[in-house]
Amino acid sequence: MAQEDSGRGLSRRSFVKLAAAVAGAALPLGWQQALAEEGVLKIVHLTLNPDWSPLRGGGSHYNWQSLIWASPMYFDPEGNIHPYLFTSWQPNEDWTVWTFDIHPDAVFSDGTPITAAHVKGSWELNARPSTRNQRIDLVLSSVAGFSDVHTGGARELSGVRIVNDKQIEVTLEGPDPIFDLKIANQLAPIVKVEDVVDENGDAKEEWWQPANGLVVSGPFRPTLVDMTTGQVEYEPNPLFFGPAPALTRVELMPIEDTVVAVAALQKGEFDAHTELRVPNLIEQLGEEFASGPEIPKGQHFWLSTRTAPTDDPKVREALILAIDREGLKTVTIGDGPSKKAEQVLNAVSGVDPDFEPYPFDPERARQLLAESSYGAPENLPSLMMVGISAPEFEAAAQYIAEQWRQNLGIDSVQMKPQIDAYSGPDQGNVQIFRDDVATRVPDAVVYLMASIHSQSSNAQNKMGGYRNEKVDALLEEASMLPPSDPRRDELAREAQRLFRNDYVFIPWYHEVVPKSAMPRVHNFGRSLDLNVSEPWKITVGG
């Protein structure tokens, strides 16, 4: 992957800007005008992607899955759910059985009707360990029989029943009032299973290549996936069961160097980017490119409750109170579009308006450190951070380390991009993890279950096995309530307040899903699933 300069001295970026300015000053104006080809969307892709399988539950190509796959339902940029492949759905009285109706006209791009058998087969394929779908738990974990399939003990989801060709019934392990919200994304696409699997029931190699007879269900279909150059092309799917797309072609080309990618976008060679993370994005490509709806996703620093010295609650509290987080916001995210975070929750109905933010109180922080089991900063072991893998993360980590040095006298803080960058013995001693938490379901309880519940990977991995039984109990109780019940959000807020008082995270910022497209691209709204919600409406130019 491209390595960015750290900003010390004359950086590569400054050098290039200088050269570009000199070159640009001598150009005839005509070549600098927008070069949009009407009807064609040209996208800069992140990387030379070796794997375009939609069954991975992520990856750099995930953001474009809605172009070629019809999800069961989808969210619009405002967070409202819409029918798509499933036209209607109904739970039973206790939320343990869900029935879904499939669009009567839904077909694959070869004309094969999409049936309940395809849905069942696709979910089973996605759940198998050989498929390596890294987020299937988020979609199907509450379905009866999922854990057996997911650990390789069974091939079939016992809780999924085919009622008829166009209706499917799902039985859950327990009540789940928001199961419908969990499947409204591209994480477990419905594929033409009989073409995808081999004799063992596992996905064939490169089944997603057009040359291997790939059939899709979305508004576009791939006509080129070149593994050598990384170029991908899509054309309209003539048999798409939804509205005909306005675009005539979509082209993706990988440009890994961000300086070159930005120049190409500015020049008009391309219209959009998969996911561009550069400093000063707004200055370089405009506010519209960098802006978008806030999504339930936040970047924070998490403190381990198991590793010295952060296993001491007073040390954790001291570390948090010693940071001027307003200054952290200024030096990292500036004036936006990301928003400074005070709590875990954002962009969901359960955001706590009365949440008490952590104060900046260096005096109190020093007092807490003195009262802790260590007594003084020189008694603390070296603090080790991980997840410092991009310039913005490094800026934040350096700022935090400097705050600790100034306010607490802590002068030994290490930073690494990945945990394996530390030596073997040290990997178990890392205390601070920079990582994001997010949810693809606009629900406070789901958000917190994935962030602060003791069974979440965040709690187990990043917070050293954090466990607060009251927090767990509140969230588990809330998860049994329907979204329409106000108690659901109330319990979530209460759990979050308890979590706050455990002092286990340093809030940083909440994210928006940037448009990542130039102003000449229209109807390009992305949902919290990071995909374009209604790709058939996209237009370029005009």
Partner: protein, 318 residues
């Protein structure tokens, strides 16, 4: 000659095995559990489930003892099975087969261009020692060699984006004879040209006042013949050695050029697999790199007698 080659190739086998063993051991014991690391490095909403991790580890055969894993790997390797990528699940040989020719072609083209450009320049500079031409050539070589490829690459790329008509962005790989390869070759040649110009110049200066050169001139031979037929052979011996070293670094490590210009080569693959802890790919790239070093040394050793008969005589005497 054949015996010489055969003996050298036989020595490769234990050398490559030893390299594989060391790299495998470092990866196994040094970097941590690769499956666990895949989940630890995944975004925050990816579930961390011990049962799931164990299932994936077992499916990848990583639950066996180190020696069993290594023996299995070598056994498969001897049958042409390089294993599957831990990240993509695709056969490693396919990934390598796509990347290696790109790097190989780029490296070879760079060497050829470097030879054609740098050796004549070095000779001209040496023959005009301490003259204006010498200073200009040497100064330019030093300047060109001093600019890192990760600076000049993006500058050239961005400048071209701004200067060229729309739709002409020179990005991606279309083969070694595609017009898009001009810029990356230019960048790749800069450092080698700088090195070879100076190497050649120094070698020519060392040789140009030798007795045999004086004899050749005294016989009335044209200067062109003196240079090409008498001077170049001893000069080329150290230059060829240097070219061999350059070739290895070009094939294995042209990472910045590959990233900036979108070339799907081995350098890029090596970095990506290291970042991802993709052991099978790391091992394959290491194996190829090691084999390339040995092959390059062999080629250079075979070239010596052709360039300098004294080397051939020395080998015959042994």
């Amino acid at each position: 000659m054949l015996l010489f080659v055969a003996r050298r190739v036989l020595v490769w086998i234990p050398s490559l095995l030893l390299i594989l063993f060391v790299v495998y051991a470092l990866a196994f014991y040094g970097a941590g559990d690769p499956i666990k690391l895949i989940f630890l490095k995944a975004p925050g909403d990816v579930a961390y489930n011990e049962a799931r991790i164990e299932a994936v580890r077992e499916a990848a055969g990583l639950d066996r003892p180190f020696i069993a894993q290594f023996a299995s790997y070598v056994g498969n390797l001897l049958q042409g099975d390089w294993g599957n990528s831990l990240i993509t699940g695709q056969p490693v040989w396919r990934t390598i087969a796509a990347a290696a020719p790109v790097s190989g072609q780029l490296g070879l083209a760079t060497i050829i261009l470097t030879t054609l450009i740098a050796i004549p320049l070095g000779v001209i500079a040496a023959l005009n020692q301490n003259g204006k031409l010498d200073y200009i050539t040497l100064g330019a070589a030093l300047a060109v060699g001093a600019i890192p490829p990760y600076v000049v690459g993006p500058i050239l790329m961005v400048s071209l984006i701004l200067l060229l008509p729309p739709g002409s962005i020179p990005y991606g790989w279309g083969g070694i004879f595609d017009v898009r390869v001009i810029l990356p070759l230019l960048v790749l040649c800069m450092a080698p040209v700088s090195i070879i110009v100076r190497q050649t110049r120094a070698a020519v200066i060392e040789v140009m006042n030798d007795d045999f050169i004086r004899t050749a001139r005294a016989k009335g031979l044209p200067e062109r013949i003196v240079v090409l037929r008498h001077m170049m052979r001893p000069v080329l011996t150290p230059v060829v050695t240097q070219l061999g070293i350059i070739m290895i670094s070009l094939v294995n490590g042209a990472i910045f050029v590959e990233l900036v210009f979108g070339l799907p080569g081995l350098g890029r693959l090596a970095v990506q697999s290291t970042v991802d802890n993709d052991y099978p790919v790391i091992l394959a790239v290491t194996l190829i790199g090691a084999a390339l070093v040995m092959l390059s040394n062999l080629v250079v050793d075979l070239a010596y007698p052709l360039l300098d008969p004294r080397a051939h005589a020395a080998r015959s005497d042994r």
